[in-house]
Structure formats: C-alpha cells, structure tokens
C-alpha cells in the first residue's frame, strides 16, 4: 500500500453483507451477476429477512447462486423457478421467496411459468438478469438479444426476419393484472445500481405485504461473451441496451406506491 493509513478515528461505512456467503463466485471478472447478488444480500440484511428467505436458483450462469447466499436455497430445472417458487410459497406463505433467473431461463424456456406466476398474482419476487445472451453455454442468442447483435448462434447478427424480435419482458408482464410491481433497472453505474437496490427492496416489501407478483429486470453486462472488457461492456450496455430496453417502472399498483423506503 502506497497510501498511508489514516490516523483519525474511522468507521466502516460499507462492508460485505452478511447474507452473502464467503464463497468465491465463479462469475467472470466484471460480471454484474455479482452486483445483483450483493444488492439482494444487502436488502435481506437491511430487512432482517435471512431466516425467512428461500431462494430459487435457475439454470444458466446463476445456476450456482445457491452457493453465494447465506440463506436457504433450492435449484430449479431450466425455466421452472417461478413454478418451484409457487410450490414453496403456497406451503410456506410467510417466507420471502425469490427466484433468480437469467434471460434464457425466464424469457425463453421459462416464459410460460413466469407469465402464469405473474397472472396468478403469485406472491413471489423474480430477479431477472437481462444480459442479451445465454452466458453459461457460451454466448448464444437469447430472446433478449438485440437486433443485429452478434452471438455464437447468430454469427452474422440477429436477423429479425429469421430469428424474430427481442422480447421486452418487463413490458410484457406489466400487462397482467396479477403483477403488482414490475420494473426495469440497470447495473451499469453507481446511480443506477442504487436505484436497482431500491427496486429490489420495494419488491421484497411488496411480497412481505402480500401484494402479489413482483419482478425486477436488471440490465447486466456479459463481458466475456460479448468479447469486451468490463469497461467496454458497461459502455455497450449504456449505448445499445438502454435505448432498446428503457429503464422505468412498468407496473406499480397503487398499494405499492404507498410503500416508502
């Protein structure tokens, strides 16, 4: 350390949240899965929910999410996390049940499960990581891949004539009466990360109050599969993803609007 220690009295103003386990993650350097994990853990700590939390990990890069949190977890088949969460929540209604899903998992193979969980007003929270590709299998085209975006299964760029158009999941789910809180946030800079944390907090408050389905879509970077440095990836998210996936609140029930954080 080239910087001298401070001689004044100091306090820790930020520490690793208790709800994260001490395990090293398998995520690539810069991957914002880690940021999303950290935010969830911070909210769990702040709300004192550790003993009531049950997480449902999905299939994709976040398949090992259960290793990284210090609360109960199960691991779901690909796309079925909202169904598993439904099963858990219906027998244990006072627990806070969270699914953590990527875009291939939630918006492709698991679209039926999430749509119907939302339609039922299932009192669960889905954290939805949108990084425009299938990360775990090596960067294939996902339902969220942008038009023209090159992936390992759209090597010439996503051709909407052949591959169809990306799905804007938050907008889609917001049309369902059972959905109480559906928002899109981004993890590309400090301000947006703080807003994302607030949204996760709100979603958990929604669930705690029994107000129905909540989903927080988080725009994320995938530097490795995008073939970029984390720095470039952050820039790409800001320049390409946000214009297509507008940040904002897509569904906030009046009763949710009363929640003050």
């Amino acid at each position: 350390m080239t910087v001298p220690e401070l001689d004044s009295e100091q306090v820790a103003v930020y520490q690793r949240p208790d709800a994260l386990s001490d395990t090293n993650t398998h995520y690539c350097p810069g991957c914002t899965h880690g940021v999303a994990h950290r935010l969830i853990a911070e909210v769990v700590d702040e709300m004192g929910l550790r003993e009531r939390m049950i997480g449902v990990a999905s299939v994709g890069c976040s398949v090992f999410a259960y290793n990284y949190f210090d609360f109960d977890f199960v691991q779901s088949p690909h796309g079925r996390a909202p169904a598993m969460a439904t099963g858990i929540k219906r027998v244990l209604p006072d627990r806070i049940v969270l699914t953590y899903q990527g875009d291939g998992d939630l918006a492709s193979i698991g679209m039926a499960e999430v749509v119907h969980a939302a339609a039922r007003g299932e009192n669960i929270t889905c954290i939805f990581i949108n990084n425009t590709n299938y990360g775990m299998t090596g960067g294939q085209m996902a339902p969220t891949t942008l038009p023209g975006q090159k992936t390992t299964s759209s090597p010439n760029g996503r051709d909407v004539e052949v591959n169809g158009y990306p799905i804007r999941t938050a907008e889609l789910l917001s049309k369902l009466d059972g959905a109480s809180y559906v928002v899109r946030r981004s993890l590309h800079d400090p301000k947006n990360i703080r807003l994302a944390k607030k949204a996760i907090r709100t979603a958990f408050e929604v669930q705690k109050r029994g107000l129905g389905f909540s989903m927080v879509e988080l725009l994320s970077i995938c530097p490795t599969n995008w073939g970029m440095t984390p720095r470039q990836a952050i820039q790409w998210l800001e320049e390409k993803m946000i214009p297509f996936y507008a940040l904002g609140d897509y569904k906030v029930n009046p009763s949710v609007a009363d929640i003050k954080i």
Partner: protein
C-alpha cells in the same frame, strides 16, 4: 474539506475487473500490476491519497470485495 477515507480490498475476492477503478470520483484506485492474487488477477487497491470514503467503488464491486472506511468527524460541542 471532504472527509478522509480508505478502502480495503479483499484480494481473495477481487478479480481485477476495474469497475471500481473506472468509477472512482477521486481517481485514487488502480490495479496493482506488480502483484497477482492467488487466482491470477491484478488486485485493485488504493493507489493515491484522496479517498473520501464515498463508497462508490463498493457500490460497483461485483464481488463485494471492498470494505470502505471513513473518518469520524467530531462535531464541535
């Protein structure tokens, strides 16, 4: 005068992604290119004086590897 602060980076967790480096408003964090962590990354560290303990680096850090300290400013009685 801004408060004084410092950060500690847990080198078991740091992957040298530079998200803290690129977002530090004081530009006092850098990767240490002289050293490698046991997982093979150049770790981030406080490279210069001037840290205010604002916590933006910790907000960005995907590995929750950063602990942020800030000096306690004694209010005049």
């Amino acid at each position: 005068m801004p408060p004084k602060g410092r950060i500690e980076v847990n080198e078991d967790l740091c992957k040298g992604c530079e998200l803290c480096v690129m977002n530090c408003p004081q530009e006092v964090i850098a990767l240490n290119m002289e050293r490698m962590t046991k997982r093979g990354y150049h770790p981030a560290e406080l490279a210069k004086p001037g840290c205010t303990g604002c916590g933006i680096c910790a907000t960005m850090c995907p590995e929750a590897a950063i602990t942020v300290y800030r000096e306690v400013i004694q209010k005049p009685a």
